[in-house]
């Protein structure tokens, strides 16, 4: 049995005028330790799907199971990271990273020490008493990563976590996130519209088409790229080949859209 399993998940939004199908018949499975990217043009429902997996949104049809357990509401074993850091400006960095543990009522010495060691790992342990406004965008997103990892989720859902950062910071963070997740053996799903990011970071890329959002094609990433850190992967010849391939597919989706 797969680690994470989606069975014909569908999502329809209702408004007074219309019913819009955002997602239709999504079936896929993710195995433990795998890094999967959801790639697609905006409006393909990939973020919606992530919210469903996180348990923040109930699908109108289908089921999501994590280790054979149906996900109906947010789950302690699932970590969710948003487009921006959304650190609470009124809390110190320390209180911000501990917020998950506080909410789940497990502020034990052991868990606190683990979280502080994560801070050390990403090189920000000297900012604990500062407030988010005193940190740069890249630093804040690193703190947000620690906040997500603090509760030891088994699977991490990353909703375009690098999209608000400048390019250089983004490249550095990709490496950091990638190596941190690998080290801790975490399963991850990354939602992105950046082809390069998807290739550099994932083991498998799932391409979505729009209106309604459906799985269009799946691309396994070559072993050469998978064993490299994102930054190095970007220099590898396989990267360019794959980029071309996905680019053409995306073009096709766009063409289908306009027709």
């Amino acid at each position: 049995m797969a680690f994470l399993q989606l069975k014909s998940v569908g999502q329809t939004y209702f408004s007074k005028q219309t019913a819009t199908t955002a997602l239709e018949d999504i079936t896929l499975s993710v195995s433990e330790g795998e890094f999967v990217s959801f790639l697609g043009p905006s409006g393909c429902g990939k973020s919606t799907l992530l919210s469903i997996i996180a348990g923040l949104l109930r699908p109108t049809s289908g089921t999501v199971t994590l280790r054979n357990q149906i996900i109906k509401e947010p789950h302690a074993k699932i970590g969710y990271m948003l487009q921006q850091d959304y650190l609470f400006p009124w809390k110190t960095i320390k209180d911000n990273i501990m917020v998950g543990l506080k909410l789940q009522n497990c502020l034990t010495k052991e868990r606190i020490d683990y979280t502080l060691s994560l801070m050390k790992e990403i090189g920000l342990h000297d900012t604990l008493d500062q407030y988010p406004s005193e940190l740069s965008g890249g630093m804040r997103q690193r703190v947000a990563l620690v906040r997500t990892l603090a509760t030891s989720p088994q699977i991490l859902l990353l909703d375009e976590p690098f999209s608000a950062l400048d390019f250089q910071t983004k490249l550095k963070l990709e490496d950091l996130v990638s190596s941190t997740l690998r080290e801790h053996g975490k399963t991850a799903i990354l939602v992105t519209h950046d082809i390069g990011e998807a290739i550099a970071m994932s083991d498998r890329i799932i391409l979505f088409s729009t209106k309604p959002g459906r799985i269009f094609r799946t691309f396994p990433v070559s072993g050469h790229l998978r064993k490299r850190l994102p930054f190095e992967a970007r220099q590898h010849p396989d990267y360019t080949v794959m980029f071309q391939q996905i680019w053409e597919e995306l073009e096709q989706i766009e063409q289908n859209d306009t027709e």
Binding site: A54, F88, P89, W90, V99, Y131, T151
Partner: protein
């Protein structure tokens, strides 16, 4: 660094800033002097009716007299107590009501037209009913102070609650946080600035409520002094009370502002 390398341009800039601050202070002081000077002079010259408009010197003399016999403090104490209770309770009850309708979105839709009507209605008009209902005492005057501020506080704070960035709530929910935790960890702290600023508005509103309450029924307080002075045609007393109110209201406002600075110094999100 700027101390080690004397930077001419920078010191010029600082000098300019300082000069502008001094200019502002001097102008403010001049307005003060000119206003009271002109008042005194025109009263002496009988350009304005001294019986009606009194004069600063008469007011100061009366104030000195009231301070030396101690009676003024009784009135000040009374009114201050009523006002402080009025604006603190008004803000507190308003915030609680806002929390209630935030918690039950159905309630917010149901109550919406009623809040609009209640907000538009002149609350001081209920004064006589309050006094009959609660008795001619401190309670009904405090109630007046609360009543005048509570509805607008509810509306303002509820709006602030609903405008909190939804992604902050999403963070809490993604950790499996309950609705109460969302409120306690995000909604309330995110709205502290809004609560403080309605506290500021309520300082002013409560003064209105309390003074009107005292007009209607009281045996002591600054509002009582005003209405009493009016009845015996002692306008020096009326104006003195008015100046005391202006002074106290300013102090209160400054205190709330100091509290604001202390509470939200770290929030530049």
């Amino acid at each position: 660094m700027n101390k080690m390398i004397p930077n001419k341009a920078h010191s010029d800039y600082l000098q300019k800033l300082r000069k502008r601050t001094i200019q502002v202070k001097v102008s403010q002081f001049l307005i003060f002097i000119v206003f009271f000077g002109l008042w005194q002079y025109s009263s002496d010259q009988k350009w304005i009716d001294p019986l009606l408009f009194s004069s600063p010197i008469k007011i100061v003399k009366l104030l000195a007299e009231k301070i030396s016999d101690g009676t003024v403090f009784v009135h000040i104490g009374m009114t201050l107590t009523e006002t402080v209770f009025g604006f603190l309770l008004g803000t507190l009850i308003g915030t609680l009501l806002a929390a209630l309708i935030w918690w039950f979105p159905f309630l917010s839709r149901v109550l919406d037209p009623y809040l609009v009507v209640l907000n538009a209605m002149p609350k001081v008009a209920i004064g006589p009913i309050l006094i009959v209902a609660l008795g001619p005492n401190l309670t009904s005057i405090v109630a007046m102070g609360i009543l005048i501020s509570v509805i607008i506080t509810t509306i303002v704070i509820y709006t602030a609650f609903t405008n909190v960035e939804p992604n902050y709530v999403k963070v809490i929910r993604s950790f499996g946080g309950t609705k109460f935790q969302c409120f306690k960890e995000v909604i309330l702290p995110a709205c502290f600035p809004a609560i403080i600023s309605s506290l500021k508005v309520n300082v002013g509103l409560s003064w209105v409520g309390v003074i009107v309450g005292e007009f209607l029924v009281s045996k002591e307080g600054l509002g009582y002094l005003i209405i009493y002075g009016f009845q015996v045609f002692n306008f020096t007393l009326v104006l003195m009370s008015l100046l005391i109110i202006a002074f106290l209201a300013t102090i209160m406002y400054q205190l709330v502002e100091a509290l604001e600075k202390k509470l939200i110094k770290n929030r530049i999100s």
